[in-house]
Structure formats: structure tokens, C-alpha cells
Amino acid sequence: MTTFRGANCGLGAKPVCSVFTDTGSNATEGSGGVEMRYEAPETMKAAVALLASDEHGRVLAGGTDLLVQLRADTIEPSLVVDIKKIDEMCAITRENGGFRIGAAVTGAELGEHEAFKSVWPGVVEALELIGSTQIQGRATMGGNLCNASPAADSVPAMIAAGAIATIEGPDGRRDVPVGEVATGPGRTSLRAGELVASFLFPEQAPRTGDAYLRFIPRTEMDIAVVGAGVCLTLDDSDVCVAAKVSLGAVAARALAPEAAAKALIGTPVDDAALAELSRAASAAAQPIDDKRGTREFRIQVTGVMARRAAETALARAKGA
């Protein structure tokens, strides 16, 4: 998974900015030295047609991953399709009591959307951890998901929230759970010509709370060493009736361990349940050793982060 190029970080390899820019086995594609075409279609149909026409095409949303990768020569697309001119991609709408968020909506916009923020504070706090104010003005959830870094911050939060990705492609539209889009570092299940159009956050049950927490060595501008998203729902007697737990940066893609969710369901989310959650989360983690943290450390911190995220989610569920 995460992706430091150990022995290669000096001169053996092309410069790599961070885990976000490392697209694993797809690291160099396209044909060297080819001119790059830039297109900014205004319809979904045109975007799909463009992408289908060029196997070395790339979607450009905020560009906070893509541009870094371009500059570092880790990718050489022959076509870049900017999706920000497509209205649907930039829209936030209500749908059946839930929210539909266009794939090109920026973190900053979502962070200022009071209605969405009050329902999904955990998703918004995950998005707002991405980079800095400047980065958030550009960065999108679609880009965060499709860049497919195992450490992507918004992905565990979206998985915990039960978000659905709506995908457009040459064969039409299909819906898949967010957790099924990224398949490994830099890899997605998107087929040729496909792109993520939007995310559906279905109507939330009453007394539901979500939260996302990450651990980084520095308080700002750093890459998650461990991330944990928790969403839980209580009944009227404060017993947890539904829960989803998702873990980032501890496997090749975000995990959603059943055992961790089960540790909460049917309990009042008391100390014993939280301890069990912590154990289950640690047990589910399959991290690697790297410069940012040893395997043992990540396993321990996974439990700590999951527990703390659950505590926040619980407080929010009770307050909601």
C-alpha cells in the first residue's frame, strides 16, 4: 500500500511528491513526449465520449493530485478532461431526503453548506482535513476517491456514511457503494471511459452521528498514518442499532471491518463496547511498516482512532 519508494526516493526514481501522487503500478502511462490535449466539456455525455476516445485520458477535477503527478512526470496523459464545466458535477441537491453531491464539488463548498454539514459533520471534517485552505478550494471528494490513495481522508468517512458513487460511462449509469471504487493504490474499478458523476448520501436515520479522525505526526499538512470513520445510529433507549466503521491508511484501500461495526451494534456504546471496537479495528488493520509508522504502531493507533471517532459519533447521535 502506501508507497514510499524506499530505496528509490533519492535519484533512482522520478520525484514523488507524496503518497497521494503515487499511482502504484500505473506510475507511468501514456507515451512519452506526446502532446497533451486539454478539454473542458459542458455535458456529461461529451465528457464520457472524450474519455472513451482515448485510453490515456484523465479526468481533471481540482487537480491537486493530478497536477502534482503531471509535474513529477509520474503520469503523462495525452488527454485531460476538465469536469468542472459540467453543471451536474458541481451541484449539491436534495434527493429523497438525502443529498446528492457532484463529484467536482470542492471541500470548501461542502464545508460551507450548512445543511449538509449539520447532517454529515464527519464527512465534512474529513474533507476539511485535506491539505490547507488553498487545497480545499480545489480538492474534491471525487478526486480524493479516484486518486485511490489508501490514505485518502474523505473515503473512510464516505464509506461509514454509506455513500453511493454514481458512475457514468459509455454503457450508461451505474451506482456502486463508495467502498468498491478504489481497489488498491492508484487503482479503481472504473472501466474505460467511466467517471464518477456524483455521490448520493441517502436519507439519514434519526439519532445518527458520524465522525472521522486521523492520526498524523504533525498537526497540519500531513498524510494520514491511520484514519477512522464511524457512523452509528441509536434507538430511543440509546442502544446502537446500526453502525459502520471504516479504516484508512492501514491496508491497500480503505477497509470496512464488519467485526468493528458489530462490536457497537446492540450495545449502549459503553466502555466494554468501545474496547471491543478498538480491538476489532486493530485486528482488521493490515498495515505496512514505513517511514511514517511501524506496523505495530499503526495497529495500535487504529484501535485508538476508531474508539475516539466512535465516541464523537456517539455524542453527535445523542445530540442529534
Binding site: C9, L11, P217, E220, D222, F297, V304
Partner: protein, 778 residues
């Protein structure tokens, strides 16, 4: 002093340009016809160069030339960079080369320079230069380098020992035999690099009409760059001029003359057109100096009350592949150990080991943080052993104020002993403890622990050698325009030193500091210069400028007296005008005086006055002057994640007399930020072969604004007795005890687990591991 500018928090004169984007850095130097350079660098920690084929690169459109060793050798008088401070005999194999001939000894070492219309083309061409390497065994860690059978860093060297030395006084043997407590400590100290935000860079231009070579370099030593070029290209020093434009930080990484600078200048000579090279961040990680690793194995002896009896042991220092400067880091580390404490017996055996990593030289602090860390860890170890308060143990060992001046029989590099000529170390610590509320902290800590929170308070003290000579020129000049100009060999690199110099000078003429133009870093205006390092320039150049200003003032007054036909005792100098006291109409301006002194054909000059309203002074310090600081830090540790948050940071600092408190505070805060980086974040990683593994700021973490707390600063001014201004250096002060104080605070927070920290930096994973080990051990 004449005016009241010295000591005033004058706004920095540098800032308007910096804030409005009109400052000029090396990259802003745009000369017509410039070609840009990129370097072919070794991808291997150690290899032989079998061949360099640059045919394809030369054939690329827009490429002007590719020079490897064979191409540049005819221009060079020799392929060795002049060593700066060869104070010890050392392994010749570690002498730094200009361009690798047949062997490369670290990743990033330059093999060839490519010159092209633009950097883009140059970099494309770099990829086309075909270097055939034969990879050799390499050694990465300095301890491994000394192991029997270790790979050789340099193919021809018998082993990897660059030099050894012993720092010693007293007699440790009997002291240790009689000691109530002898405590061993194994310390692993790492410091990364300097990482100024502006990297290195140079523009070189050769003018065939004057046979003049001019270089603009982002350096801490313009004169040393000039001198190296003079020697290496066999030039005349009057034909070589090194100019340093605005500099975005140095911190040690621009202190030496680099091969890149020499090669770029050589390319300009060869091509007869301007050449520019601006370092990118990756190159800085690969090829700019670092400070890196020291491994200390020491034991400290104390009596039953925790008073120091001795400290002894050994230390291994990572020199990297080349000896780029000398042995200052290792030397200073040994000098810093006794610090502000009474240490009666001391012996440290140092081995300087070569490794296949980029060379090390001082980064801000220059070994003092390491020596201080060793002593402060020893202090905490004694306190823990005795179950005593950490501040109390220090109190028992600090040199009392009444024993100042204090002579430590430990020799500095220049052979002088350590002589604390002024200062009150206990007062500084007490002030710091008091401001931090140290005596009530135990209560707060207990309450926090009851609430499941781990807070801790740490304290550390240090002394720092400052004001190293031999001198730094100060020239003060007033021309017929009436403008006052200061020239000095000192180097401005963002500290605000031009403002300080302007204040010192302006005070003598009753003018606004903004009326004084300060020119630094230009060998064309000052023949000799030493440079910016070692917290020395306010002491050396500041004193010279002060003395030169006084001299010019006196000359102006004497001349005016002659012109106005009064006694100079009856004259006032204010706002650049000299007038007869009580008769303001009877006056001459400094411009009038300068004009009179510049002479006019056929007119008599003022009697007995040599021409010119100017003075040049080389103040020669009679000794070094020592700064002293006490830092108290409060932290909160998250035992679940090993995260450390610094919640309070307090500094009591003695830098002697302050020229400008705002600038001094800026230097201290910057130093503390560096120290926090050293304590918690900055780690320059290499794999076992010597391949760097942290080559971006995503991997090498610098402290950012949110992790550097508000630093509370209290000044404790004891004027230095060895210079006319009473100043001590401050550029490095903030960094020196910082890592020691932070570690002390973390240990204090984790006292319930008995965690002991013996290393820098300490990462969250490592701290979690230490907590785990301590739990398992108890």
C-alpha cells in the same frame, strides 16, 4: 553611545521589500544571454564511473554544452575544493572534489553539468547523459562504517576513520571511583539539514572586456566563494567579484563553497556567457550539507547530592563522504557539554567516521545542541536516580554568578580556553522557572493525571560560544551627497542584520536608521570578509561599524569645527547637521563636510585632515563571548498515539546588550522552531546502502506554524566585556537547549511509565514503542 537607537525595537528595514515582493534573490538576477544549468548527479551511494557519454545530450536542440570532469579539468588548477578549517589532520580521501572523476561517493554527487537555453531543456538533456557506473559496496550508518570489514566509503582509503580526537580536562578515573552514582547513557542524536526556504543558487558572468568574473550567489560567505574561484581558476582577486543578493535563509547550508558554485562559474568562463543554476528542493535534500548523526556512549558521575563529579565516554560522528569544512560540529559538541555547569572532570573520545552520504557541516547551533542534549539528559538521569526535582539538581550544579569570570580548561578549535566573561546562569534559570510556574506544576500535573491526561514540564540550560573572530570589516562612508553608507564583509541572510547595523551607525549621526544604506555580501566593496555563521556578525561587524561610525563622527566634528571656526566641543550633530550649540544658524551639513574633505583643485583642505569622510575598522575581538539561555517547556502527550503537543514555551535569554529586541526575539523564535523540528519531526532518512529516503517535505517534516507555540521570551542582559557594544551573538541561541528541554518535558509527562528518552528526534511511533517497553519493564 550617542543616540538612543541602539536597544530600540526599530522596524526591520529589510521588510518593506520582502513584503512587497521587490526583494531580489539570486533567481531574480536576469542577464541577457543567460544559459541555465542542470546537473547530472550520481544515483548511487558509491560507484566507479566507467564512462560519461554526453553525445545525445549535446545533440538535443537548445543544449549549449555538457561538461564532465574531463571537460572542465583543463580550466581548473586542481580538482579539490579548498578546505576551510583544517584544524585536524584528516583522511585525504575525504577532501571534496569539484567534479567526480572516476568515483562517486554519495547519491547526488555531481558528475556533469548541462547548459541549455532553459532549465527544462537542461533537465531533459540530463536524462540523455549516459554515465556507465560500476556500483561499489557502500556504507550508510556511521557506526557500521567503523565496524571491522566495513565497505570503504572511498575506494582508496584504508578505512573509514576521518579523524579522531579527545576532549579532556581533570582526571575522570579517581572521580568515578569515588562517585556515589555512576549512570550510563547511550544517546542517538540526529539533526537533519538547514532547509532554508530559498535553496542554493548562483549566476555567473564572465566579461571578456574587463576579464572580470562576477558571480551572484546565495551564500553565507561571499568572500569565500570569491577566494575559492580565484584559487581554482587561477584568477586575480581584483577581477573576481562575488555578490550576494537577498538571501532566503542559510542556517548553515550555504556556509561552504559548493562544487556547484565552482562548476557554474567555470561554465561561464568556458562559454563566455552568463550561466544560472537555481537549486530545487530535491537537489537540496540530495546535495546540500546536513548535520545528521552522532552516537554518544557516556557515563556521568555524581556525588550523593547529585553534584557532578565527572563525565566520560565516547562519541561517533557522521562526517558523510567529504570533509567540506572541518570538524566544527564534533568539536563544538564536545565543548558544549560542560555548558553552564560545574563539571570538574571530563573526557570524551571522538571518532569521526566517513559514510556514503552527503557531507555534514554545522547547521544552526553547530554541535551545541548535541553537547547540551548530552549534559541535560545526564542532569535528568541524576535527578531521576536521586528522586530529586530536575530543576533542583540543575540548581546545585550551575556555575554561581560570583564565580564569573569562569575559566574552563577546555580548548576551543583556535586553542583558546572557554572563558565565561559575563553572565548569571542561575538567575536565568530561576527567572524561567518562575515565569513558567514551576513550583506549582506538580499540583497541576497530578490533577491532569487524575483526569487521564499526561502533561509534563521540562527545563534545559545552555551556553553558546559567539562572536568568533578573527574580524569582520566595517566601513562607514559619507560622500558629498551626504548619504551615509555602511559596507561590511558580514552576510545578511534574512536575520535583519542590516537594520541592526543601520541602528548602530545612525546613532552616531542623529539620523533615522533608514537614512543609512547598509551593503553586505559584496566583495567589490570590502576586500576581506569571513561570513555569516556561528552567531558572530553583530559582535564582530557590529563592533567594527560602531567604531568606524564613531571615527567618522569625530572627523566630521573636527572638520566642521575648522569650517565654522569654533571648537569641536561647542558643536552638536543632529539630523545630519552639525551646528554650533545655541546658534543653530551657524551650521554645516554632513554633505558640506564630506565635500570639503573630498578636496577641490586649488583649494586648501581642512587643516590636518586626511581626505575623505570615511573610516574602515577591523575590530579584533580579544576573546569569544558566551550567550546563555534557559528554556522551560510544557507538553501534553497523547499516550494512545504518541502525539506530543507543546502547550507552553518559555525562554530566558542572555545575549548581552540588545541592539534591537524585535530582531533578537525573531532569532530566538526561529531557533526554537528549529529545535522543535529537531526534537519531534526532522529526520533525514537513508536506507542501508546510503540511498536517501526522505527527499520531499512530505517525507521530511519541518515544524509548521501550528506546532510551534507562542514563544514567551524574557531577556536577561549581562553586557559582554569583550566588545565595545557589549553584545553577544544570538543567531543560534534559540535552538540549542530546545530539543533537550522538549525531551525533558516528555519524560516528565510520562513519568508514571518511567519512559527515558535518549534520542532525537522522537516520533509518535517511537514514543508509543518506548511507552510499551517501559510498561513491559516495570
Amino acid at each position: 553611545m550617542t543616540g538612543d537607537l541602539v536597544g530600540a525595537p526599530v522596524h526591520r528595514l529589510e521588510d518593506a521589500a520582502l513584503l512587497t515582493g521587490t526583494a531580489r534573490f539570486t533567481d531574480d538576477i536576469e542577464l541577457p544571454g543567460t544559459v541555465e544549468a542542470a546537473f547530472v548527479r550520481s544515483p548511487h551511494p558509491h560507484a566507479l564511473i566507467r564512462s560519461v557519454d554526453s553525445t545525445a545530450a549535446r545533440n538535443l536542440a537548445g543544449v549549449h554544452a555538457v561538461f564532465s570532469h574531463a571537460d572542465l579539468a583543463p580550466l581548473l588548477t586542481r580538482n579539490l575544493i579548498p578546505p576551510d578549517n583544517p584544524t585536524l589532520k584528516f583522511a585525504e580521501s575525504t577532501r571534496a572534489v569539484v567534479l567526480a572523476k572516476d568515483e562517486v561517493c554519495h547519491v547526488g554527487e555531481i558528475v556533469a553539468i548541462v547548459l541549455a537555453d532553459s532549465r527544462y531543456v537542461a533537465e531533459d538533456a540530463v536524462a540523455l547523459v549516459d554515465v556507465a557506473y560500476e556500483v561499489l559496496p557502500s556504507v550508510s550508518d556511521c557506526r557500521d562504517a567503523l565496524a571491522p570489514g566495513a565497505a570503504r566509503v572511498h575506494r582508496d582509503a584504508p578505512d573509514n576513520v576521518v579523524a579522531t580526537f579527545r576532549a579532556e580536562y581533570g582526571d575522570c578515573g579517581p572521580a568515578f571511583a569515588a562517585a556515589a552514582h555512576v549512570l550510563p547513557l547511550s544517546l542517538r542524536q540526529h539533526r537533519g539539514g538547514g532547509h532554508p526556504i530559498e535553496g542554493r543558487g548562483i549566476v555567473a558572468r564572465f566579461d571578456p572586456a574587463t576579464e572580470g568574473l562576477t558571480v551572484w550567489s546565495s551564500t553565507q560567505g561571499a568572500h569565500r566563494v570569491r577566494d575559492a574561484l580565484v584559487v581554482l581558476y587561477g584568477l586575480d582577486e581584483t577581477r573576481v567579484r562575488a555578490i550576494t543578493p537577498d538571501v532566503g535563509g542559510g542556517f548553515g547550508s550555504k556556509h561552504i563553497v559548493y562544487p556547484e558554485e565552482v562548476v557554474v562559474a567555470g561554465a561561464a568562463l568556458a562559454l563566455k556567457r552568463p550561466v544560472k543554476w537555481i537549486e530545487d528542493r530535491r537537489e537540496h535534500f540530495l546535495a546540500a550539507i546536513q548535520e545528521r548523526d552522532q552516537y554518544w556512549d557516556i557515563e556521568v558521575a555524581a556525588d550523593a547530592d547529585g553534584r557532578l563529579l565527572g563525565l566520560r565516554g565516547s562519541m561517533v560522528h557522521d562526517q558523510g563522504a567529504y570533509t567540506l569544512l572541518g570538524f566544527n560540529v564534533a568539536h563544538n559538541a564536545t565543548l558544549a557539554v560542560p555548558g553552564p555547569y560545574l563539571l570538574p572532570n571530563y573526557r570524551l573520545d571522538v571518532t569521526i567516521a566517513a559514510t556514503n552520504r552527503v557531507g555534514t557541516i554545522p547547521v544552526r547551533g553547530a554541535g551545541y545542541p548535541e553537547g547540551t542534549f548530552a549534559m541535560e539528559r545526564a542532569m535528568d538521569a541524576i535527578a531521576d536516580e536521586l528522586g530529586a526535582d530536575r530543576a533542583e539538581i540543575r540548581r546545585r550544579n550551575l556555575i554561581p554568578a560570583d564565580r564569573i569570570p569562569y575559566e574552563l580548561p577546555l580548548k576551543a578549535r583556535d586553542g583558546s580556553t572557554t572563558h565565561y566573561e559575563s553572565g548569571d546562569f542561575p538567575a536565568c534559570m530561576e527567572k524561567a522557572l518562575e515565569s513558567a510556574g514551576h513550583d506549582r506544576f506538580a499540583e497541576r500535573q497530578a490533577a491532569a493525571r487524575d483526569a487521564g491526561r499526561y502533561i509534563g514540564m521540562g527545563v534545559a540550560n545552555c551556553t553558546k560560544i559567539t562572536g568568533r573572530g578573527p574580524f569582520e570589516t566595517g566601513i562607514v562612508r559619507i560622500g558629498p551627497s551626504g548619504r551615509i553608507t555602511v559596507h561590511t564583509g558580514a552576510m545578511a541572510m534574512g536575520q535583519g542584520i542590516k537594520t541592526a547595523y543601520a541602528q548602530i551607525c545612525a546613532d552616531q549621526f542623529g539620523v533615522d536608521p533608514g537614512a543609512v544604506k547598509v551593503i553586505t555580501g559584496d566583495t567589490g566593496t570590502v576586500p576581506m570578509g569571513i561570513g555569516g555563521f556561528g552567531s558572530r556578525q553583530t559582535v564582530t561587524a557590529g563592533s567594527s561599524i560602531h567604531l568606524a561610525s564613531v571615527e567618522v563622527r569625530e572627523k566630521a566634528l573636527k572638520t566642521a569645527a575648522h569650517m565654522l571656526e569654533v571648537s569641536d566641543r561647542d558643536l552638536d550633530l543632529k539630523d545630519g547637521t552639525i551646528s554650533v550649540a545655541g546658534v543653530p544658524d551657524l551650521s554645516v551639513s554632513l554633505a558640506d563636510v564630506a565635500k570639503a574633505l573630498s578636496g577641490a583643485i586649488g583649494y586648501a583642505r581642512p587643516k590636518d585632515m586626511p581626505p575623505g569622510l570615511e573610516a574602515s575598522v577591523n575590530f579584533l575581538p580579544t576573546g569569544l563571548t558566551y550567550g546563555n539561555s534557559a528554556h522551560v517547556v510544557e507538553v501534553e502527550v497523547d499516550v494512545g498515539t504518541g502525539g506530543v503537543r507543546i502547550t507552553r514555551y518559555l525562554v530566558v535569554n542572555d545575549s548581552g546588550r540588545l541592539i534591537n529586541p524585535t530582531i533578537v526575539e525573531g532569532q530566538i523564535v526561529g531557533g526554537v522552531a528549529h529545535g522543535i523540528g529537531n526534537a519531534l519531526f526532522e529526520w533525514m532518512g537513508y536506507d542501508d546502502a546510503g540511498q536517501p529516503v526522505t527527499t520531499t517535505f512530505a517525507e521530511y517534516l519541518l515544524p509548521t506554524a501550528p506546532v510551534v507555540p507562542n514563544v514567551e521570551i524574557v531577556h536577561h542582559e549581562t553586557p559582554s566585556t569583550v566588545n565595545p557594544l557589549g553584545v553577544k551573538g544570538v543567531g543560534e541561541a534559540g535552538v540549542i537547549p530546545a530539543a533537550a528541554a522538549v525531551m525533558s518535558a516528555i519524560e516528565s509527562a510520562l513519568a508514571p511509565f518511567g519512559v527515558r528518552i535518549r534520542e532525537t528526534p522522537i516520533s509518535p511511533p517511537r514514543l508509543v514503542e518506548l511507552i510499551g517497553e517501559a510498561k513491559a519493564g516495570s
